[in-house]
Symmetry: C2
Subunit: 206 residues, 2 copies
Amino acid sequence: MRKVADSTVRRLSLYLRFLDDFEGQGVETVSSEALAQRGGTTSAQVRKDLSFFGSFGKRGLGYYVPELAQRLRQILGLGRRYRVVMIGAGKIGSALVQYRGFTQRGFDIVAIFDNDPAKIGTQWNGLTVLPIDRLEQELKAQQVDMAVLVTPGEAAQSVAERVVGQGVKAILNFAPVQLNVPDDVVVKTVNLALELETLSYALTNR
Amino acid sequence: MRKVADSTVRRLSLYLRFLDDFEGQGVETVSSEALAQRGGTTSAQVRKDLSFFGSFGKRGLGYYVPELAQRLRQILGLGRRYRVVMIGAGKIGSALVQYRGFTQRGFDIVAIFDNDPAKIGTQWNGLTVLPIDRLEQELKAQQVDMAVLVTPGEAAQSVAERVVGQGVKAILNFAPVQLNVPDDVVVKTVNLALELETLSYALTNR
């Protein structure tokens, strides 16, 4: 398969959200124009994005919603389960373990770690918070696909190195730092503070 | 001032986080190398980023932490207050009104809207949830700087057009869609589902 840009994958995800809505409403076909509007792009871009993965749709009829949705789920890797560890049992971590989007997309949190003695041993969604010292041992014992980092900024890089050292290839990072990882590890950072500061920058400097 | 790239502003925000930590620890000076490491970049990039905004630091001595932090806060527009409306009083909205990062960065939520009769009239952090029909009226009455959209995907574009129509120039969007807005409106989208799907894509297609 050709190398597909991150921006393409993000649009596929947006198209799928739209197709899910349509499927729920019983809509059977959708045009590339409608998908384009939802993805903030053009119908030519939609056709190009989908062409990476084969041939879809019929000229003049558009795309068959259940088929395209199913194919996008496959492409996006949503047909299997992923084992996830969460590192950091603070406020954001607490919101995240309850976030249904994880399990809906196949991400199962199998262990939670913290270094705070007050948190270690507490129960979170049926999981006991483990001491961070146990990280390597658990990563070795369980087939872990992804780590969610919810540590303070100053701890994030060293924790990232520890999980990468045990072969984890994907990190969802909520710590307010850029992580340096090898090229074969994929990192997505969600940083609300940073989004707010780019907004206050924009509001102040126009 | 020259047009500054979004990526530069994001790094300034990361540097500031780092400087805040250092200030808390009583550290007085910091090198461009240390800032670079935290920002996932090079010291040359740090110097370039800061050079947009004037002259900082002394050769061989590095940057004076309190001074640079204060200057970055000014640059990022963190010295003033912003009036914010939140549209959508669901689960994410509920987590967001409690998020201290908003007030810490000068963002004050002044009104919350929903279209669900079960939510309208309820109290959220001292604010009464208003019917969405009142949106234009409130935006006219209050000097609103930013809207936080926490609506379902299918409602987001039309709500965005309504707030933009009343002169709001900044949107923080949690709805799982790309918004089409005029060029003078800045939109930041936080979409956890999309981040997860780019991660599952990467895990499946390598």
